[in-house]
């Protein structure tokens, strides 16, 4: 059982659940997010990972994601309750009106300079994000969501577990310092696990960064590594397609994205191994 307030920058949320796996997930991945001083403070989301009701509760136990007492999507098997929390929280951040432009992208930073890696699923951004974090010492802002503040054009960290799928699990599991959580089989995304963000990234969870580089990664088995610089207008279009709330953000989102790109250089890279990808990133950011 868990009923607590979590500060997971840039939001504060209340999390309730009867599942031990959810409690264990919070203990493993958010050891410093429970902040008793925030009890009674404003919460952005009231999340309840509940047990499914009715006959199913006995025949095939399920976990429901409840947000402010509503159920925005279908339940999952109870064994995936903790993963449901992660996916549901992604949905909250991407769709609830928080005033940020939210883009489907991995973000890492060095010395306040951020590297944004937008990508369609399967492009390899989570694996590359984990490699930069664990092998190259970049600070993890997020492996999934670039959270852009329109007023400042700065990126807010959301250092949560890196979601790893299928073949990337063994790759990232071998990285020094990587701590993986339970493996979830047969999810809609295949076999899934999470890698804990380094404590250094969590400790700097309130420190924003400015976008300096945008890289569109593309994992292509057998391909020769290549890197091409692209214009910011082209990058704009590609990023806009990966934004969850661009339509709702309207002109504010347009100017925010323009401001983000204004100080950035943009590239697309193709690679066939993590090592080659890291070499390309080194060449871009070096």
């Amino acid at each position: 059982m868990i009923d607590t307030t979590l500060r997971i920058a840039p939001v504060t949320l209340r999390l309730r659940s009867p599942f031990r796996s959810v409690r264990a997930h919070v203990d493993l991945f958010y050891p410093d997010a429970i902040d008793t001083r925030r009890t009674g403070a404003f919460t952005d989301f009231d999340i309840h990972i509940a047990r499914g009701a009715g006959m199913r509760a006995w025949l095939r136990p399920q976990a429901q994601f409840l947000l402010d007492h509503g159920e925005p999507f279908l339940p999952l098997p109870a064994a995936q309750a903790a993963a449901l929390f992660e996916w549901g929280l992604n949905w909250c951040l991407a769709t609830r009106p928080l005033g940020y432009l939210v883009i489907h992208a991995a973000v890492v930073a060095q010395d306040g300079d951020a590297l944004v890696m937008p990508g369609v699923p399967g492009a390899g951004k989570s694996t590359l994000c984990a490699a930069l974090t664990f092998l190259k010492g970049w600070r993890l802002l997020s492996d999934e969501l670039a959270i852009l503040e329109p007023e400042t054009a700065r990126l807010h960290p959301n250092p949560r577990p890196i979601c790893l799928k299928n073949a990337s699990i063994d790759i990232v599991g071998a990285f020094p310092g990587a701590r993986l959580g339970p493996v979830y089989q047969d999810t809609r995304k295949g076999t899934v696990t999470h890698a804990a963000p380094p404590s250094q990234s969590r400790a700097m969870a309130e420190k924003t960064a400015r976008c300096r580089w945008v890289v569109f990664p593309r994992y292509v088995p057998g391909a020769a590594p290549c890197c091409d610089e692209i214009g910011r207008a082209e990058a704009f279009v590609r990023i806009a397609e990966q934004s969850f709330n661009r339509d709702r953000m309207g002109e504010t989102g347009f100017h925010a994205l323009c401001a983000m790109l204004d100080e950035a250089r943009c590239f697309e890279i193709a690679y066939d191994s993590t090592e080659r990808a890291l070499e390309l990133i080194d060449a871009i950011t070096g």
């Binding site: 214009g231 207008a233 704009f236 204004d262």
Partner: protein, 96 residues
């Protein structure tokens, strides 16, 4: 030829512009009302920026402004007229 009536934003549009991003070869025009956006060439960007600034402008004056006031039928004028036509065809601007 373009119509004699003024060039202005396509009906219902309220246009905003990205930075010019000189050197990139393209910039972005955004419609506040629909959320649509277009990638445009540097010259098309200048045309739209002029219309955003003035609200509306006669085609002749607009061409003259973008060709540094030269009045003779030059290649530059032809290029500008082509760009304006394309912006009209894309329903970013109108000459109707």
């Amino acid at each position: 030829m373009l119509q004699e009536s003024p060039i202005q934003a396509y009906p219902g549009r309220s246009l905003a512009l990205s930075p010019a991003w000189d050197g990139d070869g393209a910039a972005v025009v955004f419609d506040r009302n629909s959320g649509d956006y277009w990638i445009v060439s540097p010259l098309a960007y200048q045309v739209v920026r002029r219309i955003v600034a003035t609200g509306r402008e006669g085609a002749t004056e607009l061409v003259q402004h973008l060709t540094d006031g030269k009045t003779s039928a030059t290649d530059a004028e032809t290029v500008v007229i082509g760009v304006i036509r394309e912006l009209v065809q894309r329903e970013i601007l109108t000459d109707a």
